[in-house]
Symmetry: D2
Subunit: 138 residues, 4 copies
């Protein structure tokens, strides 16, 4: 089961080449991830702010196939491709909403982390359940 958000490219997300700046694609993926965590009680805010549990990236791979421009709406589709003990892997497809063309694909490995101790944590049960519901197998 995939999770999907849509968001318009904002006026200030354009670079001097007139295209969405490439690191911003990853911020779009992170927005999808933030919203995805709405599936646990308290959401990403509750995890980060209240429980001090975060998911720092440890590995990232991205293919960029086409640019995004001002006027495009980006659709970001998230699936989970791996659920480990302390880590998980998200896969994102970013497409242009109007024609569905996939402009980028990203794989993003995160490690569940105690933000105060900066130490690995086992995935909390509710997070594991949420991830598992969105797990796909290749």
């Amino acid at each position: 089961m995939s999770f999907r958000i849509e968001r318009a490219v904002r006026f200030d997300e354009i670079d001097a080449a007139g295209l969405v700046f490439f690191p911003r694609f990853l911020a779009y993926c992170h927005e999808a991830m933030e919203d995805f965590f709405g599936g646990v009680d308290g959401g990403y805010v509750g995890l980060i702010r209240d429980k001090r549990v975060g998911f720092p990236a440890v590995h990232l791979t991205t293919d960029f196939r086409a640019p995004l421009r001002y006027g495009d709406v980006a659709a970001i589709t998230l699936v989970v491709t791996k659920v480990g003990t302390t880590s998980c892997t998200f896969r994102y497809e970013i497409s242009r909403a109007w024609d569905g063309f996939v402009v980028a694909v990203a794989e993003h490995v995160c490690v569940c982390t105690d933000l105060d101790a900066m130490a690995k944590l086992p995935l909390p049960d509710d997070v594991r359940a949420l991830l598992t519901r969105h797990l796909v197998t290749a």
Copy 2:
């Protein structure tokens, strides 16, 4: 005595109109302020991170006279126009480095704040001394 930094407009600071996005002018001013606080032991990092003393904006006035573009180097000149008990006022001029043309002027009132209690604080002595050294009178 004024304090001055120069920094090139970055590739990703341009908006869809091809100009530096106007809130970014204020981020440039804040960069000058961060560097200005290098004049106290530990700098702005020491204040924010170690002492948990911050300077949230309470009032801001900005005149924009000309755009900045990719390829411009911004020169930001900071002076202090008021030193109160718990607050201070900075005045910034942003100019294009190559011809000195003033593209924006900003006035920025900050309140010295205990970031944990989110309560006003008297300006620390070293900060007050630094501010006073850069105080100009109209």
Copy 3:
């Protein structure tokens, strides 16, 4: 008649003091303005990208009354306070959605501009009509 958007504070909009970085408040206002221009055919994208008509800021005044934090949803309410020949003035209130507390008020004077010639333009008729529909008088 006011125009209103709501948007959650994003994970990456926080600064080292743990608060929404103050220039970002103005980016929130600009987001409201972008969406407000959805009231003309083609929206802000059509103006900027297709007609090359922009609205650079010439003057900005902002009062900040309280911080925003991660977990807050910002409600941005826009009204028009002046419609001139080539310029217009927006007034924004940013409040916390959960309790309606007004955290910032901004006044933003823009000049209608031919982005290729970088010269003032009379407000297009459809823009003037939209502005006039949201004009309030003090």
Copy 4:
């Protein structure tokens, strides 16, 4: 021959977890790349703005080994690992300046692109010469 820049983590580059937001690491790499292109006449600005030649990312791989925090200075070291006909590959190491600890490594494949036609271009001779001077072989 490697190319190196240092830049302090800025106040507004921190996220709600108190760490530098991970897409920002890529923006740091891009800053190094912008400065690296200072090795051709006109620099990156001349390429992008005047010649309308850009280098959009087509592939990106990043390993994150440790966070960056406010107060850190990031040192970004760039080498070129491949020079093709129309593409090139950069490798970046981001380290903390104070102890040299490598916090991230990124590989970034770019395609030389006519920004008006959005079509691949052979690498210009001066760019190729610059890349070749920084080429390392594994």
